[in-house]
Symmetry: C3
Subunit: 680 residues, 3 copies
């Protein structure tokens, strides 16, 4: 459906070739009518061809339970259509209006310690509230029926950032829905009592009605209850997403439906790989959080979004032209950041580059969030950069609809392990699941080795090397699948705290990592987490923090790649590899950080024959991605540095970028170049 | 009225010349009857002539709803009067008694997250509770009627530190009162919806009853709702103050009414400039918070209190002889601090020096708070210093009733900007409004330049130079007034994040600072807040932190006083000045700190011809203030250092201080000298 | 009763000589039936002779209000008995089952800010709930009656870690019980009003029903209310303990009753010295918290437990074989730690060494808490160390039943002072009562001087030197007793903030420390707490932090042992001693830390003639304790270091340890040796 959508987006000259979407959230209700014409004029000037409308319009559209006001929105839709701009129309359910919460305070979420979450911001609704759902779906149906045949409508935008603030609700509605979900999962109380280990601390349930969400407790709440509540909470919002989608599909079966995910930073409440199947195409919001790995994180998130979309194109539904407003300090982007950040998403499969928002608000909670048209107006560096990016995206129209060409290395990213590994009552509270994965990713980038971030449901056989950092939760079938992968010649690399528990968060007994012990040929009797600030040296170089393991090698074919030189386990193995036929299974027992992993990786990639695809001088400086489609094979080359990088020896038509005198490419600081090669 | 009051205070010899008031909160109900006579004897020994009585006596005076016990208080009043000590009689409403909160728990405040604030400390009442008001005003009337004609009564002390703990209440009473306040302010819901920008995040109200205080929300609450709730909360307590005052004025029209403000540190909930008009004279409580700028802060607070009192004399109603009890570590004052701290307040217009409290408690929450008579008793260094200060204040009797002589430099301190500039969702959460103002003040002190801290309602034309740090909120009339000031020859200096929003917290569009853009001749497209720990160098010396701006000079007459040498905006202007006729408008775009500002100030003060009034050797070491009245012009000279400072070339009669052999003055460490010159 | 118990524990060969108990919490309900036989087999292999059963079994034993399931427990008891293993049977009341809290949510505790503490962890019950008590005591009676005559039963284990999470409950049940407790304590409201100092802040109560627990308040809650609430809360749980015990004594008068205390770290809610009299023998749980003084803390806690048991043997009911699960980072123990930690408890009087738990859980909140049988199984270093310790404990059987031989130095540890000295509104919030006591203890260890940690109710005359750090609360009788002690020739050493208040937290007036002023011959007018990071030097060496005092010597016989060299009180006394006949009273006015105290101690111990009992080379490296009983005098020698320490010149039979070639002992790193000398 995405290609149909892309074909509907008119270019500046009005043709109907598929092209990349470019635009923003557009909130005209914040502005007087006279601004709207200027908006459309500036959108055309900037190359905008898609806007999301109505995201926070519920209170405007429906000012009271039985009062509707669509006139202004009709006019906006008409104006946009007249301007050749497609509309990704929101269902407008993101933020319930004051009349609804006043009439029905029972839709307001409740925190773990029993506090009501009041209106005054946004997303103050319980995902499981039947009252909220009734009102919300009535709005969705009304919207869908009114605009079903409007020519500007190209896609539906379900709610907004589902779960951003309300993923965890501990209300009585949540308790009821949690019980229903548990009944579905376990069928019998005996099964639940076993799974939750309720023999401990006298928690055995004798009736479903006794079960509660993990509200404030005197000590550590039951870990499987916690994990199931995370699963349930993700499922409850997914179910809500399905409910909106079902209405939309019924009324407008041909209009694709999406919702904007938040694959970025620490946002972990929603199991997006599990949600992706519910929508017609994946959309994502991404914001940079300043720090030493900030652009690696952007690349990682875009890559993971691509993995969630199973390699198919997706939409960057929100990011920022410059500063945001919700961080402690909201730094402005430097010149070039706007385009580089945007194109890096395209490099990883984004077929749309959209911002929050079109025109910077003069009032309200996000008035200091940058936009395409800043407070300073169109006569500004930001708007000029916006228009420049519009031209670049037009040049990249051939890319539209192409998919990602799998890399040889895959990094496994698993929501269940993310949730479970960071729970309380663990060997260490300092473990950061996403940081460990990001460090492996940064290390690969620094070597110039292309890698895909994938989920456990991906086709693992696509990859010669599979890196599974902190793959904590390994149910029996996954253990079997990983074993099969290695036995079939795959090279598996995993780390500390992987394979320790099953799907119920029960420890695999007999020595860690229980689920992979035989495959790895090692046995760990005891974990050796390190105090904050402590570190150990490895004999091959590199410094470990956070974690160590007391490893016993149990299989004679295991090779010790590195040992501990200092610390409690000095002299014992730190990194091991067991060769299994043509494949292998390696284990890294400590946190080495991006630099340490970059030193280790060549020995882990070597057996698989994986090397950088980049010319010598560009490795580490340049990130390369590949998309391919009917129109060709597209090489994206992104300068990771603030220096100029010359690139030689790369064949192809230059869609974007500057050739040097000898016909090579020159990447200025933070520049992006795109080459088209013939489709193979 | 204050001069009448001062004339009622008998000196040790019983005459009725006006004199400075000296005393404390006096809480005899904490002590057995036999101590009271010793109290009065020691008060006379110390020169005490005024005490505040009854502040926390409600439960004692009215042990049950219809039971009154005034006998003990009658006796205390009589004893004090017999001892020649005037009484500033409290209305006793500060802390409701247990019987009242037990009968009416609905007067207890509620936090933003819905927690009840229980009795057990003090000030556990909702400012908007009609039930509390009924009971409190009944007490006020009973007190007033009983003591209307008591000869000891010289003033009324309304409640105590209004708003210290209960300024923000989120109860249903508060919600009701907030709605009434909003109806008054906006008249129509359309006006409110516009002011609050409710088009954002679907917050449009269709009925007044839908509006709530900014209780716990899922994300950032509406900023104008927050700002209005701050305004409302200050007004609600002001309204309560008026209610007590009205009863007092009705019963005792000739007795002046005051209430003790808390102009100090981070206490910002009460808009004191706005309250000052409601009382007959301003009183203030001030406590030192140890730190590198602690005495500059004392001076700043006293100066600001003087500004709030519009230069008229005011009362220092509470400070401490030594340590307090509510800081994390409560350090004792060094020898000399007691007198210096007290006299620095007098230097800034205090006509009373009072302490909390007369006799240090043996029990209760403040038993480790120092007092005039410490735990150790009268045979102690503290009491000897107290008596010494009493003698100094007697020597300064001629000062009583004199006003402040305006300085040539004014620092504008604005509650609305304080509230608004530190709200959430801003470019930086690290901005500290008061610290920026204090840094300018410290810089002026270090140059020996006298400055007045004033509010936006002061007569600005008194000042040749007006420094307005972070004057964030500039409504259109204020912008006009500042422009007029400059065009009339005034020299305006302002800083980063000034003039950015109007009274509704709406951004002035078209480039920052919208309200002052033309006056300053610059335009800022984007803010450049700095991460914590980051800094930039200026080409003229000085280091900026916290903030930078990307400045474009739009008026050819603008002079760049300093540029950025490093950072994202290297090469661009950092400090600018536009000459406008004889006046000028300057802009400082980063935080330079007190030292950096001291380096910059001479270039900002130069055009106005402002220099230090102090002799060369004393600049920076000595703070000078000037009071004047019918009795003369009084120069206060306060040693800011721990070294001895010789002072030459200052004419006048030495009211306080030590002359050296040559007839100059010698200021010992932390000493204060006072010279009387003839009134001009 | 403890010796009968110890005689019931069969050794591996089945004899009935008293022996040390060895075992763990045993939770067979977490495991399938087939594991139980292996459990008993491994227990015998490890030398286990005692297990605690049923601690968290309520929900299993009583799955519904009128449903009981004892079959599994009967079987476990039989199996254990058949294996020669005694059972310390829990009353199973520690964690109420879901059916109970669902039927009676009014048993759930409430926090100070009104939040309900929900089920999902453990100990979610109000100590004062009559409903909980009814159900719990019914269970206790049923358990007692069922197993009264079971041959495996050797002791009762009341509940578990009483007060670990629910010591402070602010519910309405708590309010009612608090009022009853206060009526008992004060009889009249006048007495309570006086004690609480309610004249301050208008808190005077006119009816008992007005009194509340110290719930969330606007400012500092009344300090005596806080202190009494701590006393009440400890008493309320003690009363609950008595209620269980009374049922047990009624049904099984011959079976000793205990409950596991938590004398360790910051656990201060339960006044254990006051509880100790309620049970037949003292038990304790102890967990190491990694840090520079971690094993000194272990020794201190064991020593204090011995003090609480008045020198009689006690049970170590829980500690860990290696890592725990509830610290931020849970480090594994090093080789040797398991045995050394265990034996250090035995050295201080433990006659039982028990762990939490026997078999490491595969599920639940504590699955990463180490156990005797780890996840890795019996083929593991942990289990081998467990078995090795079992053998050591068998070798130490002669020690069983012996008591501690008093040292010449006593350190006074006082719960009332602990509670009161760390309350809010004090001169400093940084004071750490336990740390100060621990520092004195570490200093004595570093000098090789043996000391007993005792409570104020101990027979003080046993000690030549009595160190009372921060003995903050000194009621008149205790002041008298300490004076008598000194006058009888005792040497008292006390510190800053001692003797400042009476039992009502009222300051002793006239100069600090009021209760000891005359005895010490000094007077302090004012405290001089130091800001965090500040320090002062003493002229005899040593550096003070946290606190200083402005001391005046009032008695000519006072000797100044050290003065302040720097700081506000430079030149004034820092450490003083007044000789009183053969005794003396010394005062240390600042925090010197363990090293500083080690430098000072020789001058404080000298007058009493106290020196180390250890050979020269071992002082500081070795900790020595002495137990004695009918079977001999037992010298425990514990290597405090990670180096080998030779020990010469110690006579006795080597029960544990390695003799070197010359017949001396050699203590390996962290080793423990035990010598038996003839009973005197």
């Amino acid at each position: 459906m995405i290609s149909t959508l892309l074909s509907q987006l008119n270019g500046p000259d009005g043709d109907s070739t598929p092209r990349l979407a470019y635009g923003a959230d557009y909130n005209p209700e914040q502005w007087p009518r006279e601004v709207w014409e200027e908006d459309v004029r500036l959108m055309r000037e900037a190359g905008v061809n898609l806007v999301s409308v109505g995201i926070f319009s519920w209170a405007r559209i429906q000012p009271a339970q039985d009062e509707w006001d669509f006139g202004w929105l009709d006019e906006v839709m008409d104006l946009l259509h007249a301007g050749g701009i497609g509309v990704d129309l929101a269902t407008a359910t993101a933020s319930p209006p004051p009349w609804l919460t006043t009439a029905h305070p029972e839709i307001l979420p409740v925190t773990a310690s029993g506090e009501t979450v009041w209106p005054g911001a946004r997303q103050h609704w319980r995902p499981t509230s039947p009252v909220f759902r009734t009102h919300a779906l009535r709005l969705v149906r009304t919207m869908a029926e009114r605009y079903a045949d409007h020519p500007a409508l190209v896609a539906w935008h379900v709610s907004n950032e589902l779960g951003c603030h309300n993923i965890y609700d501990f209300s009585d509605d949540a308790a009821r829905a949690f019980r229903d979900w548990l009944r579905d999962r376990y069928t019998t109380l005996d099964a639940l009592n076993h799974a939750w280990g309720t023999a401990f601390w006298s928690q055995r349930y004798s009736d479903w009605e006794q079960i509660l969400p993990p509200r404030l407790t005197a000590s550590h709440p039951n870990p499987t209850q916690q994990l199931d509540f995370k699963r349930f909470s993700s499922d409850a919002l997914k179910e809500y997403l399905r409910a909106e989608r079902d209405v939309l599909r019924e009324v407008t079966p041909d209009v694709p439906v999406t919702t904007n995910f938040m694959v970025m930073g620490g946002t972990k409440g929603m199991n997006y790989p599990d949600w992706a199947g519910e929508i017609d195409f994946v959309s994502n919001d991404h914001y940079v959080h300043p720090g030493p790995q900030d652009r690696d994180e952007l690349s990682f998130s875009a890559n993971l979004t691509s993995g969630i979309a199973d390699g198919r194109p997706w939409f960057l539904m929100e990011h920022s032209t410059s500063a945001v407003n919700w961080q402690p300090v909201n730094v402005a982007k430097r010149p070039g950041d706007l385009a580089r950040d945007s194109l890096l998403h395209v490099a990883h499969g984004a077929d749309a580059v959209c911002f929050f928002q079109w025109r910077q608000s003069a009032a309200g909670a996000e008035k200091y969030h940058s936009a395409m048209v800043p407070h300073a107006g169109a006569d500004s560096e930001v708007f000029r950069a916006v228009a420049g990016l519009g031209r670049s995206l037009q040049a990249l129209a051939p890319v539209a609809g192409s998919e990602r060409e799998p890399a040889r290395v895959g990094i496994v990213y698993d929501w269940e392990s993310w949730w479970a590994s960071e729970q309380d009552s663990h060997p260490t509270a300092l473990l950061d699941y996403r940081q460990e994965a990001l460090d492996w990713y940064s290390a690969l980038l620094s070597l110039g080795v292309r890698a895909d971030v994938v989920t456990t449901t991906a086709d693992l056989d696509r990859y010669d090397v599979l890196i599974a950092p902190v793959l904590h939760v390994i149910p029996a079938p996954l253990a079997k699948e990983l074993t099969r992968y290695v036995e079939s010649g795959g090279h598996l690399v995993t780390t500390y705290f992987s394979g320790v528990v099953d799907e119920n968060d029960h420890v695999w007994l007999g020595g860690h990592p229980g689920a992979l012990r035989d495959l790895l040929g090692i046995r760990i009797e005891e974990f050796g987490p390190l105090l904050d600030g402590d570190s150990v040296d490895l004999d091959g170089g590199g410094t470990g923090t956070l974690w160590t393991d007391r490893i016993t090698v149990t299989d004679p074919t295991v090779e010790v790649l590195a040992g501990y030189r200092t610390g409690a386990y000095a002299g014992l193995p730190a990194v091991t590899r067991r060769a299994v036929g043509g494949g292998s299974a390696a284990y890294v027992s400590t946190r080495l950080g991006a630099d340490g992993l970059a030193g280790l990786l060549p020995r882990l990639l070597g057996p698989a024959g994986v090397h950088s695809e980049l010319p010598d001088g560009a490795r580490g400086s340049v990130e390369q991605t590949v998309r391919r489609g009917p129109g060709g094979r597209f090489l994206f080359l992104v300068n990771r540095t603030d220096e100029t990088v010359p690139l030689t020896g790369l064949a192809g038509e230059v869609l974007l970028g500057t050739a040097d005198a000898e016909g090579g490419l020159v990447l200025g600081p933070r520049d992006v170049a795109v080459l088209r090669q013939p489709a193979t």
